[in-house]
């Protein structure tokens, strides 16, 4: 295992890079302007929002090249002293290094495309401007998350994206399901944030610092590293929808589809992966924590795949697919030396999942917001561009060479097998099987939506979406096709990320030869796809879900009972406890006080009656008190 350099050094930001803060300030200003100007900005607001994100992207590119020109590619910008109490010193500062630079490009790039897409998608919504304000708020918070130079600054961005996510899931707040889903997302995230908060507290109590530079150079080790690592992992699970906090993510699909694409697929939900990748020095110091990360990833990727096969709601299938794909990233980021592969998958996934979500949005747009795949079918002819884009995303996610997903997923399976002993075999096989199931449910989705017979409800006239929507889709489709190959070319991404994540590990002997493994993977994927084709492509699809199904399908349709479990273990007992406590407070504590009052005053009723002449009785008690004071003081004086 190759460790990072002993010391992490950050150089102050100079020259072009001293304008780093603008990256955040532009979208933040956009959000503020849109929210504060009320109705006045309704016309130009959405365009301003797009411009702000677009400008941030341009800046991101400029800064990227500026960073590339440096020898020490970790740039720190101190803005001001944020919290300063005794030893607890937290600067407001930014850290720009290859990892954050990569994220900046992903966030602003994909973010800009989705802004543009939303111009078309949200065109008829009366609160379009508010939507764009929230989108800008999200971009600003997400950039703070990846650019902050301390865990506490990250935390601000972390909850900021949670807030934006809440606002956008509940954008159609008058729908009760949307409001409930938003609340669920926020609460699940807060459970994760509990971990992140405690991790920061442990850092301060044990290491006396919460900045990246301070923590990573403190020589953190042993139990402290494991404790911090596991607590950070809890935070990551909340934000990234990983087991056991995955249930909020599919519900979050109640929000508008561009939101699902941007926040709940391409960027925010991958923040957990960022957190773990960023904390590489901590996890390297704790193999136990790393093992737990891989196990969580493996469990989640299976859960996501299995449930993804059972749903008929196109967005929910994509959502569980996201859960599952992030499981792959967690698996990779927990494997020593495979951090760069995790980020590679994160980037390719950002392209292909955003592409598929936007295409799904295009389908919904055409079908009057229908999401039931059993009511689609045969759309290939009516929406050729959408079909083409979705197909590209599909080929990328199932991992067909040379599409993007092939390069990243194949590497993850390989890295998992290369772990020593049984662990490697188990994790590798899980990842391999996951690839097969992914191919199954994605093929099912493709077939049910675009191929086969029309199963539309009455009065549907699907049409291709306007170019303001298809153009971003096409660009993302291109990304889905070529990004994987370009990023691994000559180890480009791995070398670029080496300063943050450590160099790529080259294992001397592979458990299974890469070529054999690649062929095996393709075989499994082909098997999954074929299975779906024979089940859904060769015979008519029913317009209502079949009832006579296996227990596994029943379970999968109910999210493998995780929601039921939450409800019976947490929600219901919580409600009873709350009701009980309200009773205790009214009858018990307050009752005791009343009883006491009754005892002393010979009945609280009589006591109250004595208080009807407020002024008089109060004056009397004041007078009594004053007398008491005077007598007491006199007594003391005379007693001397």
């Amino acid at each position: 295992m190759t460790l990072l350099a002993e010391k992490v050094t950050y150089v102050p930001a100079t020259g072009t890079l001293s304008a780093l803060w603008l990256l955040l300030a532009l979208p933040a200003a956009g959000a503020a302007i849109l929210l504060l100007t009320g109705k006045r900005s309704e016309k130009w607001g959405p365009y301003l929002a797009c411009a702000m994100t677009g400008l941030s992207f341009v800046l991101g590119v400029v800064f990227f090249f500026a960073l590339k020109g440096l020898t020490n590619r970790s740039v720190d910008q101190h803005l001001f002293s944020w919290i300063s109490v005794g030893r607890f010193q937290v600067p407001a500062g930014l850290l720009y290094d290859p990892l954050s630079a990569t994220f900046v490009l992903l966030i602003t790039g994909v973010g800009f495309l989705i802004h543009v897409y939303s111009l078309g998608y949200m065109d008829h919504d009366p609160r379009k401007k508010t939507f764009f304000a929230y989108l800008n708020l999200f971009i600003a918070a997400m950039l703070l998350l990846v650019l902050g130079n301390s865990f506490l600054a990250l935390y601000v961005g972390w909850e900021g994206v949670g807030l934006a996510s809440y606002l956008l899931i509940a954008f159609w707040y008058f729908k009760p399901e949307a409001a409930t889903a938003a609340k669920k997302a926020f609460i699940a995230n807060r459970v994760g944030d509990l971990g992140l908060s405690l991790a920061i507290m442990v850092m301060f109590a044990a290491l006396g610092t919460t900045t990246y530079a301070g923590v990573f150079n403190s020589g953190v080790a042993g139990g402290t590293a494991t404790a911090i690592g596991l607590l950070l992992l809890l935070g990551a699970c909340g934000k990234s929808g990983q087991f056991p906090l995955q249930t909020w993510l599919p519900d979050a699909m109640e929000g508008p589809t561009p939101v699902s694409a941007l926040i709940h697929a391409a960027t925010m939900v991958t923040a957990g992966v960022y957190l773990i990748a960023r904390s590489t020095p901590i996890f390297q110091a704790s193999p136990d924590a790393q093992t737990v990360v891989t196990i969580i990833g493996a469990i989640t990727l299976v859960i996501g795949c299995v449930i993804g096969c059972a749903y008929d709601d196109i967005k929910k299938v994509l959502a569980y697919s996201t859960v599952s794909q992030i499981g792959y990233m967690f698996l990779a980021v927990g494997i020593p030396g495979a951090g760069a592969i995790a980020i590679l998958h994160l980037l390719t996934h950002g392209f292909f999942k955003a592409c598929m979500f936007l295409s799904a949005g295009s389908v919904m747009h055409a079908m009057g917001d229908q999401v039931d795949m059993r009511r689609f079918g045969g759309l290939r002819k009516y929406m050729p561009i959408t079909f083409g884009c979705f197909l590209t995303g599909y080929l990328a996610i199932i991992g067909l060479p040379p599409f993007a997903g092939f390069f990243s997923k194949d590497k993850i399976i390989e890295a998992a097998y290369d772990l020593h002993g049984t662990r490697g075999w188990i994790l590798g096989t899980v990842a391999l099987l996951g690839a097969g199931i992914t191919a199954f449910y994605m093929t099912r989705l493709m077939v049910m939506t675009f191929l086969g017979e029309k199963r539309w409800t009455e009065g549907q006239h699907p049409h291709e979406s306007p170019s303001v929507m298809t153009a971003p889709m096409v660009l993302l489709a291109i990304g889905s096709a070529v990004s994987g190959g370009l990023l691994v070319l000559g180890g480009a991404l791995q070398n670029w990320l080496a300063p943050t994540l450590g160099p790529q590990v080259e294992v001397g002997a592979h458990t299974i030869s890469p070529t054999v493994l690649t062929l095996l993977t393709l075989l499994v994927v082909a098997g999954g796809a074929a299975g779906a084709w024979f089940t859904y492509g060769t015979k008519p699809v029913l317009t209502t879900p079949p009832v006579a199904v296996t227990p596994l399908t029943v379970a999968a349709r109910k999210n493998l009972y995780f929601d039921a479990l939450n409800e019976s273990l947490l929600m219901r007992p919580g409600q009873y406890l709350t009701r009980f406590l309200v009773w205790v407070d009214n009858r018990g504590i307050d009752g005791a006080v009343h009883a006491l009052a009754a005892g002393i005053g010979g009945g609280s009723g009589r006591l109250r009656r004595t208080q009807t002449g407020f002024v008089r009785s109060y004056a009397l008690s004041m007078f009594g008190g004053a007398l008491l004071v005077v007598f007491a003081l006199l007594a003391v004086r005379l007693g001397q």
Partner: protein, 523 residues
């Protein structure tokens, strides 16, 4: 000798007199005079803050005159950093409250009092209402500015009078019950404190000339038993005032029945006298007892955090809900006061300020809602965001502040309290941290039930906030955001005072456990 503090204290009293003496029918003028007075106080207080030197003497702007020479009672005032920020909080909240309550008294007369336990409503006096608020301001400033224990006690009790009338005359249907309950609780606490004050005087008289001067009293040598008893006398009085669990049951009644303006000042400022008293009197005067009792106080505080949050979730009445959230927040503050680290202490003081802003805003926005919907019950509202988007937005932001969202000022104080407590009482801090989940639940549940979902037809014509109402809330929200990103001006004032308090109680911050020498901090 600087008369500035006395001046700040007297201005509202003069304003109150003028307002009270205005001829009948001059209600609008009365309101304008009251607002102008409170703005003068605000300006004077800001000048005071600018002239305060955090690195200078502990007490500044001091003024001391003999009052009752026979007992060594002085009229002595002065502020340290802790008292100063609380006086500043008062100065900010009073004009805001006046603006928010502009038409409340008239509205009260219109509503009538169905199901009331008090005599049928007559037309209430507008002038008295505004005069009472100004008198209350004087009392509140006095209680924080007093550096003579006797003077403190006088203000501590006198403060009850205007609040009693505000609740009793201008409150909701069960106002008499609530007002009496509030008064009885406070008087019981006050009585215990009075006993302890006298006890302390007796001790000082044994060791030299009897005195009530705070600085002289901190020099006393007290036996452990004496410390324990006197500590308890003060502590229970302050714990009732704060209120800490299990002394809290008066608060939901008082908070719910008080008129909006009264509720804001009651929960936002009056209650802070309790936690301020912990830091100012319980810790420095009885360091041994404070250290002995600290674990128990921490335990009560943690129970309060969880208990208050759970009860808030179970409330059907919006104002009771906010009152119970305050029980949870006071748990955090109590924990911060007794964790004996500079982070927790500064966090606690900052929490007092932030809680005043956020709970003040929450009470106000709920008051606006109740004025429109004529009901305090959550179940009577649904989908209000549709017709009153601004009201909903400001409700939401105030709620976020209550759940301590990072980026808002409450986060800084809550995190400082938690991180400071974690160093010494790890388990307590971990349990209290789960409060962040509960806080999200009670706020978002209330928001969802009232603002989201389908609009109820009864409220289809509900009006959004007026310019005046937005103007009242805007300064609070601006401060929350500003102090969330740049709390330094306030923490710089608080820090030295907390440091002194920690020295007096004989506590030092624990060193990082995994680091031999202090870790090098990157700048």
């Amino acid at each position: 000798m600087s008369p500035s503090l006395t001046l700040i204290g007297v201005v509202p009293l003069v304003g109150a007199l003028v307002v009270a003496l205005l001829p009948q029918g001059k209600d609008v003028l009365a309101k304008q005079v009251a607002l102008a007075t409170s703005l003068v106080v605000l300006v004077l207080t800001l000048v005071l803050c600018v002239n305060f030197d955090p690195q200078g003497d502990r007490f500044q702007f001091v003024q001391s005159y003999d009052w009752i020479r026979a007992f060594g009672v002085h009229y002595a005032v002065g502020v340290d950093g802790i008292a100063l920020v609380l006086v500043a909080l008062i100065a900010v909240l009073v004009p805001v409250v006046l603006l928010a309550s502009w038409d409340d008294v008239e509205a009260l007369t219109e509503v009538g009092t169905e199901g009331s336990d008090a005599p049928a409503a007559k037309r209430k006096s507008v002038r008295s209402f505004f005069a009472l608020l100004l008198v209350l301001e004087t009392m509140m400033i006095g209680v924080f500015a007093a550096t003579d224990l006797f003077l403190f006690y006088v203000f501590f009790e006198a403060m009850l009078i205007p609040m009693y009338f505000l609740i009793g005359s201008y409150g909701g249907p069960r106002r008499s019950y609530a007002a009496v309950k509030f008064l009885l609780y406070s008087l019981v606490g006050g009585l215990l404190m009075l006993a302890a004050v006298i006890g302390l005087y007796v001790q000082s008289a044994k060791q030299g000339p009897g005195t009530f001067s705070f600085e002289a009293l901190t020099q006393l040598n007290l036996s452990h038993t004496t410390q324990a008893w006197l500590f308890l006398g003060f502590f229970i009085a302050f714990a009732i005032k704060a209120p800490l669990f299990p002394f809290h049951t008066w608060l939901p009644d008082a908070g719910a029945e008080a008129p909006t303006g009264g509720a804001v000042l009651l929960v936002g400022v009056l209650d802070k006298v309790g936690t301020f008293g912990f830091l100012r009197y319980c810790l420095p005067l009885f360091p041994w007892a404070a250290r002995e009792f600290a674990p128990y106080v921490i335990a009560l505080s943690v129970i309060g955090v969880i208990y208050g949050a759970l009860l808030a979730m179970g409330q059907k009445d919006l104002k009771r809900l906010v009152s119970y959230t305050s029980v949870a927040h006071f748990g955090f503050i109590g924990m911060g006061c007794f964790a004996f680290t500079t982070q927790a202490g500064t966090g606690a003081v900052l929490y007092m300020v932030n809680h005043g802003l956020s709970t003040g805003a929450l009470f106000m926005v709920i008051g606006f809602l109740i004025n429109r919907g004529r009901s305090r019950f959550i179940s009577d509202y649904s989908g209000i965001a549709k017709v009153a988007p601004t009201l909903a937005a400001l409700f939401f932001v105030s709620g976020l502040s209550s759940l301590a969202l990072p980026g808002l000022s409450t986060f800084i104080s809550e995190f400082l309290v938690l991180v400071g407590t974690f160093e010494r009482y790890t388990v307590a801090a971990v349990v209290a941290t789960t409060g962040i989940i509960l806080a999200a639940l009670y706020i978002l549940l209330a928001y969802q039930r009232t603002m989201q979902g389908a609009l109820s037809s009864a409220h289809a014509a509900l009006k959004d906030l007026s310019g005046r109402e937005v103007a009242a809330l805007a300064p609070l929200i601006a401060l929350m955001i500003l102090l969330g990103f740049y709390p330094k001006p306030v923490t710089d004032i608080i820090n030295p005072a907390v440091k002194v308090t920690m020295q007096e109680v004989g506590a030092q911050d624990p060193a990082p456990t995994d680091v031999a020498k202090p870790a090098a901090e990157s700048k």
